[in-house]
Each structure stands twice: as structure tokens, then as C-alpha cells.
Symmetry: C2
DNA sequence: CACGGCTCTCGACAAAAGTCAAATTTGGTT
DNA sequence: AACCAAATTTGACTTTTGTCGAGAGCCGTG
């Protein structure tokens, strides 16, 4: 990377420009360099996280609907991206919101668990940079081969890079061919330590997957569409960190789950802040299961999904009374 | 202030521009308003603290000298503004740095004590805006009349305004004419509560004053130059929140101090983070006294002052050995 | 209902910031 | 010492942003 004096210059330029409010040409003459260089330094400063530009996500929690969802499902905080008037692509809006919320939740010294999926990767991709030297980002589940562009380790590393944090990868496959092999691999010191360290996280970031042929598990070849169907008829309701959960949010008792190397649900529940982000409206049932299983304390969803959740909660409470 | 829909628009504009990275004209067409309005909304968003632009103060603590000062005086953190190559007015640089450091130290839910003086007011004046709704800013000392533009309550209120926080003022004069009156006023429930609440603060912001005719105490008429001289010969070494301290950083035993309504030193010491900012090089002795009295855990000073502190510490350790 | 007084909005211009290819410096290697 | 490759810097150009006065809309009041 850049050597010492360059770092220094970037910092000085950022300081004069953002803190003192000088114009770029003023900064340039102060530092005896051209204005173009100043512009470049400033871009680097933003990319390095030396300067931080963050917008409050207040408005998205202030929403009445968000409050209702919090109450109905006993969640700590809910953010709702208004799907209507905003952007062409609503799912981008959810990801941008999720990235902001994530950065708001991260604190110095934190240990962060990151799972895997299109949603998580999208978030990592649009997340702005920050300078959190003493943060550790740990991978929550084993790796999957290359056919897909967003692999578990990539999610972890990309987020670590953006935060200027340490990334801790999982050097094991997500799923193995026999239960015995998975068992012995889990007993390996390297893997065991990594798994044990998950419960020590302060914050987790994941989504929940649907149990259908579109799932990453199918696309990556971990499961065939037929196997997926079979699991569904056995009660599979969602996918968390590469593992199949049932409607109560508990691990489904099946061979696949026993062959997987990933975070135990108990470890995930031990994490104080569990940020779940759901982009697709089709993931209603999986989300319900995850909430039921206590796998989520903080939630980022779209307006439509929020509506469905509320509708469901109201129906449930009516039936109860 | 602005009504609801306007707030909403500001927020949306800020969101699309800063979080999504759209251009102003794109935001304008999204929201069906002119680009000029977008520019105006964005300015308001910055002024309201809906968007936060902060630059890391890392570089100023990373300094070797800063480390040495920390070690020599047992301080938690020291920031040094390099006085040479930067700006025309070095004292502005210290204030800007102090404001950034202050904003970095403030956390949600904090209670902040603010004292009074030119330094504090300068910091308040250049501090950028933030949106910390659940923060309380309390005034550390009684009020002084109007001849001066920066009164204690103004310092408090201005900082509260910038943070979008609650301001808690002190409705009592800083200094009274008799000790008896001060005594009874301190016993008043309103005042007593305020004084008692100071020890509950999480963060304090103050400077230290010099004991000379330039002091605010003299300029505001609380003391005459002659009285000031007298106090100095009695051992006065500095001014903290309107009170006179001696070289050990303890309250000087004098009539003036007994007539003052202000935070007790013990309350100040009970505050976890005590951020002291010193702009003028002439305040070397007062600063030493304040440090000696444990009135400061975090320190923002200029390079020259840092040099003098180190020189002093080295001389002291040499004598000791 | 017409009249100020008020804020909000817009168009046009000026100022500032971003970009890119060419030139220059830097650091390392033969 | 000479050379090359990579990184840095710059000037010239384009795009984007800030600003200001004019005009439009919106009350409460006489």
C-alpha cells in the first residue's frame, strides 16, 4: 500500500478540507501540490475511511410500522426501506440501508460474524469504508467452491477490507460427503477454535435463504433440486449460514445438516446483536422461522415484507384471543 | 422549525445522495423537485446532523510526542495539533481538532459537562452538527453577566444545539457577594440537584484559565486585577470552571472560591472522560496544575505546548534519579 | 377578499470538484 | 550507472455543485 509520507499527506488534506472546511485549491496551496492531487487524496481518504460520511437511519426506524413489527415479534430494532417512491431497484435500497445500519451498529473492538449469500455480498459491495483497526470479522460457515461469484470467504474478506479490519476465514468446506468426515473435521483444533469463537461475537450479519431450487445451496451444488424438495417435505423452512432450519427456527434433523461445517444455532443466539437482512418478498416463511428461532434481534426489510409480517402477527393474535 | 414533510424530504434527499451516491440532478428528478432545492436540502441535512462527515483524529494521537506526553503524565489520550506547517492561525487548528475529538468521544445516551471560556466557545462555534437525541449537555458552573459574548450558558446551549441534544442550564450566578448567600443558594434544591448531577457525567469539556489580568474572571468583573494578583501570591495557579486552583490542582482556600457556584473538583474527577483543551502557550503552569490535580484524562494541545510539557517531565525525572 | 409578510422553489450563472492522458518522479534491478 | 516499470503528479478539460435574485405559493389579518 501507500508509504508513510503519502498517508500523512492524505490525512493532512482530508483534515484541511473536511475539518477546516478549506476549498481544494486552498488545501493545494497549503500543501504545495496541485489541486488535482488534492482531489485524488480526498478520494483515497474516503476510500480508506479516514473520513467518514454517514447518514442517519433514524427515519427508517421512526416509522410506525417499524415500531409495530418490533413489538409484535419482540425484536430490538427494525428498519424498513420504503419500497415505493424511492429507487428503481428496491432491493438495492434495502442493501444500502442495511449497510448503513450495520456501520451504525459496529463499535470499536467488536468481533463480527458474517454469513454468506447474495444479500450479504450485495451489502458488502455497496458498504462505505471505515477505519476500525481493532475490529475482527469472522466467517460464520464453511466455504463453497467457485461456481458462484460470492463465496463465504469473499463476503468476510470484502467486509473486513471495507472496515479496515482483520478478517478471519474458515478453512473448511461448507458441506462434506459423509457425516463422519464432518465430525472429525469439526474436532480439528483449527476448526474447533473458529467455531468456538463465534459465540464471542458482538454482532452478526446474515440473511435467511429460501428452501427452493433458487437457493445458493442448489446453485453451488451442495444440494440437488430433488434433495431440496425432499428436505422441504421433511419440514425445512429456511437456510441460515448454510444450514437448514425448520419452522420453529431449530436445526432440522437431517443428514445434510450433520455434514455441514457452520456456526451452531446456539452460538448465533449467543451473539448480542443479530442483524438479519431480507431483500426478497419470497422469503416470508424463512424469515418467520428465523424470528421464531430467536436468530434475529435487528431486522432490515422492505415495506412490503413489513406489511406481511404485521398482517401475520395480527391474524395470530386474533386467533389467540 | 421545519414541518414534518420538509424533514422527510431532507432525509430522502440526503439518503439518495449520500447513501446511494446519486448525483444531485438524479435526486432532483427522483423527488420531482429542482436541483437547486436538492442542494439546499443537502446543506440543511448537514447542518442538522442527518448526515455526518467526520475525519479521523488518529494521526494526531499517533504522534510519538503524544505517546510520550501520555506516558509522562499518566493521561489516557493526548492529541497534538502540529503548529507549524498547517494553517495561518494555529489556535483555530487546536479548536477544530478538539471539536473532532469531542465528537469522537461522545456516545449515545451520554451526559456531558461543559465549562466556560473562550476556548470552549470557539470549539462550540466550529463544531459540526450531529444528531444525538438522547444526549444531555449540562453546564458545569454558574452564569456570568453579559459584557462578554461567550457566557457559560451560551457555551452549553450552543453545544447542545449542535448535537441536537438537551441542554441543562445553571440558573445561578457564578459568583456571589457573600459566602453565606452562596452557601444557601447551593442548598436550594434546583441548584443542589444540578450540582449533584455533575458527577454523573460521562464526559467533560473544559479548558484551564490563567491567573492574570487577561482572565475572563477579570474581564467579566468577577474579580479585579488587584484581587487576581493577590490570589496569585496566595498560590493561585489556574482557573477551572470559574474556580481558582493551586499548583497541586486543589481548590485554593480563599473567600472567592467559597462565593462561587460551580462544580466541585471531586465531581469533576468522578467524570470518566475529562477532555481538556488548551490553546494558549501562556497557560503552561495552569495546565500543569490541572494535570497534577487529576482534572484531565484526555488532552488536546499544540505542538509547542507538548514540547514544553515533555521538557518539564524530563527535567523532573532527571532530578528524581 | 385583498394585502403584506413569510417561506419555499426555481432558473441561470459562477464556482468548485472530478477526470484523464501525458509527463514526471521514484524505487528497484541489471 | 543506466534502465525499466510502477506509481505519482500535473494541466487542461468536463461535469457537478453552490448561490442568488426573481417569482410563486401560503397563511393570518385588516
Amino acid at each position: 500500500m501507500a508509504i508513510r509520507p503519502a498517508e500523512q499527506l492524505i490525512h493532512k488534506a482530508a483534515w484541511l478540507y473536511y475539518a477546516h472546511g478549506l476549498r481544494q485549491d486552498e488545501v493545494a496551496s497549503q500543501l504545495n501540490i496541485s489541486r488535482a492531487s488534492v482531489a485524488m487524496y480526498l478520494r483515497k481518504a474516503r476510500e480508506t475511511g479516514i473520513v467518514n460520511i454517514s447518514t442517519s437511519t433514524q427515519l427508517f426506524t421512526d416509522d410506525v410500522v417499524a415500531r409495530k413489527v418490533e413489538d409484535a415479534f419482540g425484536l430490538d430494532a427494525v428498519w424498513i426501506a420504503p419500497e415505493n417512491a424511492y429507487l428503481a431497484d428496491p432491493s438495492t435500497d434495502i442493501a444500502v440501508l442495511a449497510a448503513s445500519v450495520f456501520l451504525e451498529l459496529v463499535k470499536k473492538g467488536d468481533r463480527i460474524g458474517v454469513a454468506w449469500g447474495r444479500t450479504v455480498y450485495t451489502i458488502a459491495d455497496i458498504m462505505s469504508f471505515a477505519d476500525l483497526q481493532d475490529v475482527t470479522v469472522v466467517q460464520l460457515c464453511g466455504n463453497l467452491g467457485a461456481p458462484y461469484s460470492y463465496r463465504p470467504d469473499q463476503c468476510t474478506m470484502e467486509i473486513a477490507r471495507r472496515l479496515n479490519a482483520k478478517g478471519l476465514n474458515f478453512y473448511a468446506p461448507l458441506v462434506l460427503s459423509t457425516e463422519e468426515l464432518a465430525e472429525s473435521l469439526r474436532a480439528e483444533p483449527v476448526i474447533r477454535d473458529q467455531l468456538a469463537g463465534i459465540a464471542d461475537c458482538d454482532l452478526a450479519l446474515y440473511s435467511v435463504g429460501a428452501v427452493d431450487a433458487d437457493s445458493h445451496l442448489v446453485k453451488c451444488g451442495a444440494l440437488t433440486p430433488a434433495e431440496m424438495d425432499g428436505l422441504r417435505s421433511q419440514g425445512a423452512a429456511g437456510v441460515i449460514a448454510g444450514q437448514i432450519i425448520d419452522a420453529r427456527g431449530e436445526m432440522l434433523d437431517c443428514s445434510y445438516n450433520r455434514r455441514v461445517i457452520s456456526a451452531e444455532l446456539a452460538s448465533l443466539r449467543a451473539i448480542e446483536k443479530r442483524l438479519m437482512v431480507v431483500q426478497e418478498d419470497t422469503k416470508f416463511e424463512p424469515l418467520l422461522s428465523a424470528i421464531a428461532g430467536g436468530l434475529c434481534t435487528h431486522l432490515v426489510i422492505g415495506a412490503h415484507m413489513a406489511g406481511r409480517l404485521l398482517q401475520y402477527a395480527e391474524a395470530a393474535s386474533k386467533k389467540a384471543s
